[in-house]
């Protein structure tokens, strides 16, 4: 069985600073990391490999040459092979153009080793859209299941997988015919410490790098900025609110004042059972 995990390099939003002058991100301030949801996707592939031995795990990323760092990271978690598609032609892609480029790379990977399952993180923490996973599935005409919180059953003989898909108020239990694409939530697993052999392998590992010319039959007009229907029209600071009442005095006085205000305005709060 061949699982391909799509991974993205993102700035670490926990550390990133905001430029107070422009109100935008100072990307230089943030280290680039493997998108956390994608890390869980790689971990899930590793978990499946443990369950049914005959699993080969590839990871695929699109990005600048530096993105090979997250492929090495994926190898550390347990991936067997890594592919990076890197070319100026891909730059400026929105979700539609991204799913196109990745689906072309997946076609090529599939010709090397047929793919049974594609895993993606639920979304990337820099864009938060969650649109690329289902987009890839449509382009490859395989069934997608988003927001997966548990893979409960994997049947190699029947080529089916059973998963729990998170909903607003509960979950669906779904059985999907492979090949299929799943996007995973963080609660699907815990990231484990990487075993030493993986770390040694990762340190030496160099991913397979493809440019647009390596992908074969590609429609250049569907790639990058050119192939992206959406653009950022403008950036603006949301309208300022006046703000309400600043409470004054010592902390005791402020607390007393607050409770007094709440009592006046929200008598219902102090409904006594």
């Amino acid at each position: 069985m061949h699982i391909v995990v799509c991974v993205k390099q993102v700035p670490d939003t926990k550390i990133i600073k905001i430029n107070p002058k422009t109100n935008t991100l100072d990307r230089r301030s943030a280290p680039a990391i493997l998108n956390p949801y994608d890390a869980h996707a790689v971990q899930e592939a590793v978990r499946m490999k443990r369950l049914i031995k005959e699993v080969y795990i590839s990871v695929l990323s699109m990005g600048p040459p530096q993105a090979n760092a997250i492929i090495k990271k994926s190898v550390e978690i347990g991936a067997d092979e890594g592919y990076l598609i890197s070319d100026r032609a891909f730059a400026g892609a929105d979700t539609l153009a991204t799913s196109y480029a990745l689906s072309k790379a997946l076609d090529k990977i599939s010709s090397i080793r047929p793919i049974d399952m594609i895993l993606c993180g639920k979304h990337a923490i820099d864009g938060d859209t969650g649109q690329v996973g289902p987009g890839i599935a449509r382009r490859l005409d395989i069934p997608p299941v988003t927001n997966v919180i548990e893979v409960t059953e994997l049947n190699e003989k029947e080529q089916t997988v059973v998963v729990k898909r998170k909903l607003s108020g509960g979950y669906q239990l779904l059985q999907i015919q492979m090949p299929c694409l799943l996007t995973v939530e963080k609660e699907i697993n815990e990231i484990e410490y990487s075993p030493l052999p993986n770390m040694l392998k990762a340190a030496r590992y160099e991913p397979v790098v493809w440019t647009v010319n390596d992908l074969g039959d590609v429609d250049l007009t569907q790639l990058g900025l050119k192939g992206s229907p959406t653009i950022v029209g403008k950036m603006f600071t949301p309208p300022k609110h006046d703000g309400g009442k600043r409470l004054e005095g010592s902390s005791d006085e402020q607390v007393r004042e607050l409770i007094k205000c709440l009592l006046e305005e929200k008598k219902e709060l102090f409904h006594v059972k």
């Binding site: 599935a137 949301p238 607390v255 709060l269």
Partner: protein
């Protein structure tokens, strides 16, 4: 090109015969866009035995409802729903198509946008149109910064967006409102489906906690560490509130993800919202700014949270919270009962 595409569409998400709140909110928002553009507002309704819901869709502002009623559409699945929605969009060609940013709405919109080769803006919180160019202006908080980005889709139709729940306002339903119901047939066979729904399990408890809570106490990174975060639980306990956290707090592992409030978590509109140790990044604010009363407690007098707070206390949460908890306890003892929101 755009001449061929007319009308504003809203995907009506229903679960077991009940329409999701966000779909009704989108009918309200879509009504305004349709009136500006002088076109019809249409609901798109898929499911099994859902025709009875058409009148409700009309009463909330739609002029037309496109409905596909089919047994295979009983439960949401990307492959069956996408097929129906793509069929309708290709046949009737709307210029704008909105979906709720729910798990199903986002999933469906992503698949449909790919099939229609058009643009899709995720998790929108503001909608408007540029009337001259008939362009949808879909705005969303831009990553991280305290800034909004307006996304445009100039050359492709329909212009699609998913919209955060509880941000737009539904209209008062008008039972006498007249509309047209257009039934569409589709060929779907259960045997062709590569996804089978084995069961649907409801867990309403988690949702009720935040989305329907009257009072929420939300903590941010300003509390310092996970141990101090227990004060949030204590305050919540004495006022009968639900607990939430910011993205930072969830990323740090102090709280599970389902308790995250903000752009990538829950959107909430309680009667009273305590924002403790929260700076007020737009990412968080979009998820709570429609709360009735917002109480901000923060050390930094310049924190943006104070701009939207009803009552602001500049001070150390670790000093303020115990006092607040103590006072609430005294009141409840005085009144001889628990504090709760009637």
């Amino acid at each position: 090109m755009s001449k061929e595409y007319r009308g504003v569409w809203v995907f009506i998400e229903q679960n077991e015969g009940e329409i999701e709140g966000v779909s009704l909110e989108l009918l309200g928002a879509g009504r305004k866009l349709a009136d500006k553009l002088s076109v019809s507002l249409c609901g798109v309704l898929l499911g099994k035995d859902v025709k009875a819901l058409c009148n409700q869709v009309i009463s909330y502002g739609a002029d037309e409802v496109y409905v596909i009623d089919h047994p295979v559409l009983e439960d949401y699945r990307t492959e069956s729903y996408m097929k129906g929605v793509v069929l309708l969009a290709e046949k009737y060609r709307p210029e704008i198509f909105l979906y709720g940013a729910t798990p199903n709405g986002k999933d469906l919109a992503s698949a449909v946008a790919t099939d229609l080769s058009t643009g899709l803006t995720a998790d929108t919180t503001m909608l408007d149109v540029d009337l001259d160019k008939r362009l949808l202006e879909a705005s969303r908080p831009a990553f991280g910064g305290n800034i909004m980005a307006t996304i445009l889709c100039k050359k492709h139709r329909p212009q699609m967006a998913t919209v955060r729940p509880k941000v737009m306002k539904a209209l008062e339903p008008d039972k006498d409102r007249q509309g047209v119901i257009i039934e569409e047939n589709i060929e779907l066979y259960e045997d062709d489906m590569r996804t089978k729904v084995l069961k649907v399990v409801k867990d309403v408890t988690k949702r009720a906690n935040l989305a329907d809570a009257h009072i929420i106490v939300c903590g941010g990174k300003g509390l310092g560490d996970q141990q101090n975060f227990s004060l949030i639980y204590e305050l919540a306990e004495v006022v009968g509130a639900s607990v939430g956290g910011t993205r930072d707090v969830v990323e740090a592992g102090w709280l599970p993800h389902e308790l995250q409030i903000g752009q990538t978590g829950e959107t909430v509109t309680p009667k009273i919202y305590f924002a403790v140790g929260i700076s007020g990044a737009i990412q968080h604010v979009v998820g709570m700014k429609n709360s009735e009363i917002i109480i901000a407690i923060n050390k930094d007098a310049n924190a943006p949270i104070f701009d939207i707070a009803t009552y602001g206390i500049v001070g150390d949460a670790l000093e303020i919270l115990p006092k607040l908890i103590q006072q609430f306890k005294e009141i409840s003892t005085e009144k001889g009962g628990e504090i709760s929101y009637a």
